[in-house]
Symmetry: C2
Subunit: 208 residues, 2 copies
Amino acid sequence: MKIAEPTVARLVQYHRLLERLYNEGQKVVSSQEMGELLNFKASQVRKDLSYFGEIGKRGVGYHVERLFKHIDEILSPPRQWKMALVGLGHLGTALLGYGAFKNTKFGIQALFDNDQAKVGKAYAGIPCHHIKEAPSVIRDKGIEVIILTVPAEAAQNCIDIVSQSGRIKGVLNFSPVSIVVPDTIRVYSVDISVELEKLLFYLKQNSK
Amino acid sequence: MKIAEPTVARLVQYHRLLERLYNEGQKVVSSQEMGELLNFKASQVRKDLSYFGEIGKRGVGYHVERLFKHIDEILSPPRQWKMALVGLGHLGTALLGYGAFKNTKFGIQALFDNDQAKVGKAYAGIPCHHIKEAPSVIRDKGIEVIILTVPAEAAQNCIDIVSQSGRIKGVLNFSPVSIVVPDTIRVYSVDISVELEKLLFYLKQNSK
């Protein structure tokens, strides 16, 4: 079952909302309520959930705990992916301090940088190695996912180095540039300037 | 003409690709070629562009310069929006150094923080004020857009302060939390942990 990107994005949001409602002790939730809290149409919520076999009870809604556990199962990785973060500048440091990476799903095992002042030290308890050592460290630690937070001009070179390990399956690319990878690697780019251009366009649409 | 979010995201990507091709001197481009370079189906490219009245010539393609200028016109803000960045931690500092913000479309006029060590100084040539002064600085400088890069627990308070100005139209929220705003403000959130969960899900789909 291949799920399209916008649906995945909504699933992640249902998941977080349901987790919150569950922790707050709420037993049932309607598609209406979920839609309002997430800014989706109730019909979209019903359509998405019915695709995964979840049909709310008319006039009652969905069972919060069951729905949360179902979506959690769909989204959860089969195991913890071992990750490395490449580039300990402001963005890398910001991500490292970010709540998300403290989640046990994300196991950051190593950091890489080319700054000798950082190499050999630990950040958030994780050791920093020189980028040149990446192929051997990646193999030794079984790392499969790279979070790339280097400047645009360094991105391709860093990817070429980590690819030499032959072990990388995915890259979350925060560098504002396209990178070329072997077919076996899946790249997912978060381009902040694209997000900003989208905001500017919405402001334009709304101010007309 | 209201354009749906996924279409806007693709438009932004067509725009960047066409700009690059134009700068490289390419005269025509096919939907096939654009699709391959951007990882979209050629039929999606044709559908999107025909929606804006652009029909490629069969066996030839689209005129790069004309198509670029057309999409540029659709996306361009009617004028430069004046912006302020709130929160000069690692993420705020990273964004400030980011190429995107050096683009003339994005005019960052002021920075706000609650750290007295930063207040009164300039970063990237932009003055940093105490967050308490935000309502008056926003009014004085005509700021309409906020880029929010504060920790989750500070986000709502910062938004409440800047909203007091009565002048804010849009917020680009990088804090990993939902914020409540008056109806007149459009919020666009970039949640990095959502992006990361999406990547993990794709890895799961692909490794089956």
